[in-house]
Subunit: 423 residues, 2 copies
C-alpha cells in the first residue's frame, strides 16, 4: 500500500489559483435592512443618502446661542433634546435654548456653550466670553456630503460599520448571501466525547475523540462571519455513506470539507469518492508539512477539499489554503475581522523543511512579539498535546530561519499572562 494518489505536491498559491479558475464566487445578493447586513459582504457601493448632519447638531450638553450675541445675557426660550426634530421655536437675537448632545439646534442658533461654562439665573443664561460661530456643534453637512462614498462592494460590514452607517441614515444594503460549507469528518477510530470515564477508557484503548471538525467550525464562526457551516457530520470510513452524504450536500453548499480520509493510508477513500462522483482533480497534495494530504476536486461544479484528520494539520491546511479561498468565494475585498496572525521575532533558529506549523511560546517584548519554538517532542505532527504549552503557531516557509528572523504566528491565546513551565 503506498500513497499512490498523492502527486507532485502543489504550492499553496498555485492550488488557490487552480481553485479560483474552476469555481466562481457567490453571486446571489439580497437587499436587506441594514441591521441584517452586519457581518455580511456588501454587493454594492454605499453612498451617503443625505448631507450629514442634515441640520446643525449640538456636540455638547449646553446652550444653543447666536454666536454674535456672545458674550451676553440671553433669555432662555426652551429646550431641544436629542431625538426631537421640531421644537416649535427658533432662537432670535438675545435668546438661547438648552440642548443636549446630538440634538438638532433650533433655527437661528449657530453655536453651543457647554453647560459648565455658563451661569443660569431667573430664566437667563449668562455667557461671559465670545463663542465662535459653529463652536461645539456639528454644522450641517460637516461630516458627510450627499453622494459621498461610504463603503464599497466587497466590504464585510462589521457591527461598528452598521452603527456608523445608521448614524447617517443609511438603513439598507445589498449583501451577498453567506458562503455555505459542510464539514464531514471520517474515521473508524473517531468517537464523540461523552461520559468522562467511558471516554478515557476509549482513548486508552486507541480511540480518538473527534475534535478536528469542531476546530474548523470554531475557526469559521470566530473569524469568517461571511461563512456558514450548514452541516457538520461524523461518518465511518465507508465509501457508500460518505458518497451518499456528499451527493445530498452538493446542491446546497458552496464547498465541502472532508477531514480525515486524506492521510496517506486512507487517501484512497478520498479518491474513491472522487471517482464515484465523477469529480475533476484540482490538485493532489499540498507543498506543506502538516497538511500535506490536503487535496481538492470539483464534483457537480462544487469544490470538495480534503483536510488532514489531525487537528493542527487540518488547521494548517485550512488557514493556508481554505481561508483565502473562502475570502474569494465570499467576495471579501476588505473588512474581514483580523485573524490574530502577528509578526514575531524568533528567539531560536528553525531548520529548513516544507512550509509547516511550529508550536511556539510567545512573549510580548518592547519591540513586539517574540516566539520560541517548543521542544521537539511537542512538534511531532501527530502530537497536539504541546498546544497546551504553546501560545501560538508559527507558520514557517521552506527556508532556514535564524534567531531574530520574523515569522507569522497565529496567536491561539493572549500571550500576556502566566505560562505554565515546560516540563
Amino acid at each position: 500500500m503506498t500513497a499512490r494518489y498523492i502527486g507532485t505536491l502543489t504550492p499553496v498559491s498555485k492550488a488557490l489559483e487552480l481553485l479560483a479558475e474552476k469555481t466562481a464566487p457567490v453571486r446571489e445578493a439580497y437587499r436587506v435592512p441594514l441591521r441584517d447586513a452586519a457581518w455580511s459582504v456588501l454587493a454594492e457601493d454605499i453612498h451617503a443618502p443625505h448631507d450629514w448632519p442634515p441640520r446643525h447638531k449640538s456636540a455638547y450638553d449646553g446652550y444653543a446661542v447666536r454666536s454674535s450675541d456672545t458674550p451676553g445675557r440671553l433669555r432662555l426660550v426652551g429646550e431641544a433634546l436629542i431625538g426631537e426634530s421640531d421644537v416649535g421655536f427658533s432662537i432670535g437675537p438675545g435668546e438661547a435654548a438648552y440642548v443636549t448632545t446630538g440634538a438638532y439646534l433650533p433655527e437661528g442658533a449657530d453655536a453651543v456653550v457647554p453647560e459648565e461654562r455658563v451661569r443660569v439665573e431667573n430664566g437667563y443664561v449668562i455667557v461671559d466670553y465670545h463663542v465662535e460661530k459653529y463652536k461645539n456643534i456639528d454644522p450641517a453637512g460637516s461630516m458627510v456630503r450627499k453622494g459621498q462614498l461610504l463603503a464599497r462592494r466587497g466590504q464585510l460590514l462589521s457591527s461598528l460599520d452598521v452603527a456608523a452607517l445608521y448614524e447617517v441614515a443609511v438603513t439598507e444594503a445589498t449583501v451577498y448571501r453567506r458562503v455555505r460549507t459542510a464539514i464531514i469528518s471520517t474515521g473508524n477510530e473517531l468517537i464523540l466525547p461523552g461520559d468522562p470515564l467511558w471516554t478515557r477508557e476509549m482513548i486508552l484503548s486507541g480511540k480518538v475523540v473527534a475534535t478536528t471538525g469542531g476546530l474548523i467550525s470554531w475557526f469559521i464562526s470566530d473569524y469568517l462571519p461571511w461563512v456558514e457551516v450548514a452541516e457538520e457530520i461524523l461518518l465511518p470510513d465507508e465509501r457508500e455513506s460518505v458518497a451518499w452524504w456528499i451527493k445530498r450536500l452538493l446542491p446546497h453548499v458552496d464547498l465541502i470539507l472532508l477531514t480525515g480520509g486524506t492521510g496517506p493510508s486512507n487517501i484512497d477513500l478520498f479518491y474513491q469518492l472522487q471517482e464515484e462522483l465523477g469529480g475533476e482533480i484540482v490538485f493532489r497534495g499540498l507543498y506543506v508539512k502538516g497538511g500535506r494530504p490536503t487535496s481538492a476536486y470539483i464534483a457537480e461544479g462544487k469544490p470538495v477539499i480534503g483536510l488532514s484528520g489531525y487537528p493542527l494539520s487540518a488547521l494548517h491546511g485550512f488557514i493556508r489554503l481554505v481561508y483565502p479561498y473562502l475570502r474569494y468565494l465570499g467576495n471579501v475585498a476588505r473588512g474581514a475581522p483580523p485573524v490574530p496572525l502577528v509578526k514575531a521575532r524568533l528567539t531560536e533558529a528553525i531548520g529548513k523543511g516544507r512550509p509547516r506549523p511550529i508550536k511556539v511560546r510567545v512573549e510580548v517584548g518592547e519591540e513586539g512579539y517574540l516566539a520560541t519554538p517548543l521542544q521537539s517532542t511537542y512538534q511531532l505532527s501527530s502530537a497536539n498535546v504541546g498546544l497546551v504549552y504553546a501560545d501560538g503557531i508559527a507558520f514557517v516557509s521552506d527556508r532556514e530561519y535564524g534567531p531574530g528572523d520574523v515569522v507569522d504566528v497565529l496567536l491561539i491565546r493572549d500571550p500576556r499572562g502566566y505560562r505554565p513551565p515546560m516540563p
Copy 2:
C-alpha cells in the same frame, strides 16, 4: 443643569482597583465533561492522568518492525490500525506488521518504516536500510509523563486546548461558571431599526438607532467567551422602569452595564437609580475622553457600571475598564483569545489630551503596522461615521505623540485589502 454628579475623574487603573476591592470573582465551579469546558476558565490545575502515549504509537503509515531486524526481509503477520487496542498478535524476530499513523504498535516492535521506504512482495516487507530504535514512532511516555502539569487554574480553555487534552486522555475538568452580565440601554431618542424607509425618516427627524448595546454584546461574544450576556434590554429614560429591571436582574447577574443615561445631561438618571437602589459609589467619571461619564456603584453587592450611549465612547470605556474587570471577575489568568490590540507606529503627530480613542487608518509596513489618524472631522466624539473609513481605533494616553511613536490600536478589520479613499 450641570454635570454635578461627575466628581474628580478617576484614572482607569484606580477605578479597576476600587472595583476589585469591593467585588469578588466568580467562585462557583462545576465538574464537567471536557467537551463542555471549552471556552470556560479552569478552576483547578490539570495534571496528566497517564504517561502518554501509554504504549508505543506509530507516527507514520508504514511497517512496525524490530529495529534490530533491519535491514532485512520481514514476514508480514498482520496489521494494526489507529483505533485498535488489541490486535491479538505480537512481532517476533523476522516479523513486521502494517500500521497506520496513530496506531499502537503490536508488542515486540520498536520502530516503524514509512510505507514509501519499503517494497512489499508475497507477504514479505523488504527494508533495505537500518532503522533506528524508536524511529518514526512516539515511544511510550515520550510526550507526557503521568502527573505532569498540563494546564493551570485560571486558564481559559480553547478549542485547541480541548483537542490537545483529549489526546492524552484528560476527559473532564472543573471550570468556573461564566460571568453573567446584563446590558440595559436607555434613551428616549433610541429606536430599534426596522423597515428601512421608516427608519430613515426617524433618523432624519432626530431619532437614533440603538446600536451601542449590540456593539458591546458583539465584543463580548467575540472576545470574552467566559462572559455571558444574560439580558440585553432597551428602556426609556424613566427611573421607575430602569430601577424595576435592575432590581430584577441583580440577583441573577454579576454585573449590570447601563449604556446611555450617563451623558452629563442624563447622568442624573444613573445617580437617581443609585440613590433609589441604596448603591455605594465606586467612582464618578473616568479620566478619559470618550467615555468620561463612565461611572460605577455597588448595589446589593453587585456592580452597576454606566457607559456612554455613544458606540465608540462606550466601546472605549468598555475596553479600558470593563474588559480587564471582566477578566478579574472571571478568574482569567491566561488564555483569553487575543483581542486584536496591536502596536502601530504613528505616521502623524497627536496632540496632548485625556486618554481617548482616535480613529485611524492602518497599513501593514515592513516592520509592522502604521497608523494614520483620520481627519479631525471624523474624530468628533459624537460622530461615528468616520468608522467606515477607519481600520482601527488608537487608544492614546494623555501625553503628546510624534510621528514614529508607538500606540495601541484595536483593529476593527483586517487592514490588508483596499481602503475607500477619504473624501
